[in-house]
Symmetry: C2
Subunit: 555 residues, 2 copies
């Protein structure tokens, strides 16, 4: 007997499996925050649901609760004042382990069906979650809705689909019959049970509390594991809403809700205790190198899937669409004030300049034209605020100020602080662009997270290609981009990025941007360079989260 | 254009993919050392080829060669005196990395086709390899042929099939078209390249130099990587023959043969240098806990797939086939003198005895009857030598002597040294059985590799089930077995083994033995208990050995 929720969502699963293999465009959840799609009342109801959470204790009914915590500061300056239950780590892990029994009993189809139901519920909450994402991360509204809602749900669904794909490849039962010449054959019946490896911990980041959390969360869950979500201390609310909804679905299905829980800790020691707990068998992490490497070095009992820092780069060799290239780059550098793990930091331009459809452009021309393209794009305040959002952390503001002071090199575009009329306390900054020579490696060869980019002067395009490869190998990267009218240069970049193992975008001049990756088609990270040891979502992201345990007996 | 070797072996691949999913009986390579199967001349030609290797330098034409090494001692006392090229580690790794370029250029189908050709060639060499396995490991002839030849090839093939399965799931190219309402859609073309993560090192063990080497070797190779095989210092020859044949196939195909090389080191320091080399991205290991954990702790740049020590166990609750049970266990304990990672070490019997088709048997009855079954089974010398083979290492002889001296408990079956008329210098020993109380944990709760087993007296079957689970959780295990006429007890064991993540065999009384696992049906190890962090061959064994690197551009 198949599970009712598996039957209910079977068409979604099947479409997802098809898209996952074909890598063509597919999305299960509509990215437009439109009342026509989500219902006439959805925008207002979502806002109301969000407002109702503010200034309150966020009930989750988790075990081991020993107080309330929470001190999220909105980059928009809004008052949040939400308090979350702080729970004892050992109690949470023990409850998660226990909950895995009822999850196991549901079987593959049941587990997959429940995950799909959870995603559908989260989709219906997209407006509420979007407000929570916007106010905790500083994303603009449209990005908060899309990346925080449907795109995150798509990534979660992609994990469920990948997990189902890899788990369905092996038969649950087998009849094994080995010929013995003239004697009767040896006959065995065998059963193969898919068993989750143990509790998963998912550590969220401050900028994309759902988009970077759902892949690991649903990968671990769909492969039979319990999950404890440990959100970033400044972006708890989107994770808390997510966990609460998932627990509700579990309760409805008669599964122990402690299968999914939220861990709000009072400090680093508690987090370290959690991730090194013997019962924890996987850790998904998005964040900086320091803690990422600490996890890899110290969580010996677990597999660590880590997305860390990188220096994304763009190689500009030549173009037949100069204005469109600059426009594309201007949007890319401005989007969420460069606070994306996919934003380019180093833009490599030959000292001799580049050929374009508007004639030869010197290195300085490119610097000035790019600066103008950015400031032009952001000249209308309503566009600027919608695209830039707000600066998520004080550390990013410090980095902007440092770059603006000329510490790293010649400032070719100074950052501007903007006043957001809707949120007078929001911290808003336009990007800063710095011109440096390729030899100034200290300036650009480490991640400077935020709206800080470098136009790096290289000897020539061959040097740019080599530097791009070296940046990926040594500093890591999630994205590389190239502009060239020469197929030889493009092919050289294809080879270089295949060697250094990073995704390449070629001549983006329209409505696709290097910092965007689409679930079911684009892989986010390859897992093959220092920027990330895993990929959303290849089969390696899910295949090691469960084991196959067999029994066999004479038939 | 498909690769000719892919076309040549396509039927094997397709049959393998089908069997891999269905988990039913399938074998590509015939396990009978029969002239009818392998050709009338095959046995003699294989012996001749083996003899021709003895007392010589084994040429491999590898780079960085700086002398000759080799000091294999045959457990049969035969003279081997084969010398192998010792090569500089940095040179081998650099050559392997360089060779990956031509391997990459071959594409998925080409790489898979070449791997399948290699396996076919190795299959034709089964007699030669069997002699090499027999004389270096001490296995009996039939086991050396089967486990060293066709069964090892089946496991290698299984890795190629698993690797192909996981790599073929994602399309190499995609057309991505995203609707934009009334505007023209965004259209991109995308390519997804499968790229090996880097050089793999496969560290062989002294007892199964091909069976435990081929899975990692072919998994790494079939996912686009170069492989350096580091054999056990006493079982180099089977690996050397394998590597030479694989290099020949590569040369014929115009691929740089340094894609596969042999690393014979002069000591531990060289091995440590090899496995921690920045270019090495995977390490496959079979061996003891000490070095296994060293690898996991120190090879931070690589993924380590390790099969280590364990305490396999048998729970005896009751049986309706007492004699057949004892016969099955007698064979299991005798096979290759217990020098298998799958041999049971702890046999758990209730203090109150067991119910059987021959009436109640006390704990002491079971001890005595099992001892008699073993000695009876081995009473014919020709059977004894064929099944026992010889003792592979002096450390195993020491452990046998220690157990025989009663250090661990009451000896219920003393080991016998046997004279092998064909090999007068062979070290041959029958198993030793020791009776202990469950409280004597120090005796049986660590691996005592070799023909040393314990009949452990437990309070009752419930205590046996609990102890079995604890043994797996704390000491690791590759196999667990249960004998019971009660479905409740069997179900309790099924639950216990699913929790502790170990394969279970139920009521084996015929021609299937707990220490045997069949490729394409039985998983060897689960990867979920301390005995092994990987499994032959689930998709997790192959899915993390490569990455997907994409590029995208406007269509």
């Amino acid at each position: 007997m198949s599970h009712p929720l598996y039957e209910k969502h079977k068409a979604t699963l099947e479409a997802g499996l098809k898209a996952f293999g074909e890598r063509s465009y597919w999305s299960a959840y509509n990215e437009m925050p439109s009342p026509k799609v989500y219902g006439e009342d959805a925008p207002a109801a979502g806002k109301q649901a969000f407002d109702a959470l503010l200034g309150k204790q966020f009930e989750l009914d988790q075990p081991g609760s020993n107080g309330w915590q929470g001190s999220e500061k909105s980059p928009y300056g809004s008052e949040l004042n939400v308090q979350y239950p702080a729970c004892d780590v050992d109690t949470l892990v023990a409850a998660a382990e226990k909950a895995m029994e009822s999850w196991q009993a549901l079987g593959l189809e049941g587990r997959t069906g429940v995950c799909l139901e959870m995603l559908e519920r989260l989709n219906k909450q997209s407006f509420e979650i979007a407000h929570a994402v916007m106010q905790t991360t500083g994303q603009g509204w449209m990005m908060a809705f899309q990346a925080g809602g449907p795109h995150a749900q798509d990534r979660g669904l992609e994990s469920v689909v990948a997990a189902h794909q890899v788990q369905m490849l092996s038969a649950p039962n087998a009849h094994w019959e080995k010929p013995q010449g003239k004697n009767p054959p040896l006959v065995m019946k065998k059963h193969f049970e898919l068993v989750g490896k143990g509790v998963g911990v998912v550590i969220g980041c401050g900028t994309f509390p759902t988009w970077n959390t759902y892949p690991g969360l649903f990968a671990a869950l769909a492969t039979g594991n319990a999950v404890i979500v440990k959100p970033h201390s400044n972006s708890i609310l989107p994770a808390a809403i997510t966990v609460r909804t998932m627990r509700e679905v579990l309760k409805e299905q008669g599964v122990d809700p402690n299968l999914v829980s939220l861990c709000v800790t009072s400090g680093h020691a508690d987090t370290q205790k959690l991730v090194t707990h013997a019962g924890v068998r996987s850790v998904d992490f998005t964040g900086g190198n320091h803690f990422g490497h600490w996890l890899i070095d110290n969580c010996k009992q677990a597999t660590v899937y880590a997305e860390m820092a990188g220096v994304n780069n763009v190689v500009i060799d030549s173009t037949d669409a100069y204005k469109a290239m600059l426009r594309n780059l201007a949007f890319t550098l401005s989007l969420y004030s460069g606070q994306m793990c996919t934003t380019p930091q180093a833009i490599l331009v030959p000292a001799g300049g580049i050929e374009t459809d508007e004639g030869h452009k010197s290195y300085d021309d490119v610097c000035n034209d790019l600066a103008k393209a950015v400031s032009g794009f952001l000249s209308k305040p309503e566009v600027a605020h919608a695209v830039l959002g707000a600066i998520q952390s004080g550390a990013t503001t410090d980095r902007i100020n440092e770059a603006a002071a000329g510490v790293h090199g010649r400032v070719i575009l100074a950052p501007q602080k903007l006043e957001n009329p809707e949120f007078p306390n929001a911290v808003v900054s336009t990007p800063v662009l710095v011109a440096v020579d390729a030899a100034d490696e200290k300036a650009y060869m480490e991640e400077r997270f935020g709206p800080i980019s470098f136009v790096v002067k290289t000897a020539d395009t061959a040097a740019s290609v080599a530097l791009s490869e070296r940046l990926v190998r040594e500093c890591g990267a999630l994205t590389v981009s190239v502009y060239s009218t020469s197929r030889d240069v493009i092919n050289a970049m294809i080879k270089a990025t295949q060697r250094s193992k990073v995704a390449l975008s070629i001549n983006l001049t329209g409505g696709v941007f290097v910092n965007q990756s689409a679930a079911f088609s684009d892989y986010h990270g390859t897992g093959g360079n220092p920027g990330a040891n895993a990929s959303y979502t290849d089969l390696g992201f899910v295949a090691n989260r469960f084991v196959v345990v067999q029994y066999r007996e004479h038939a």
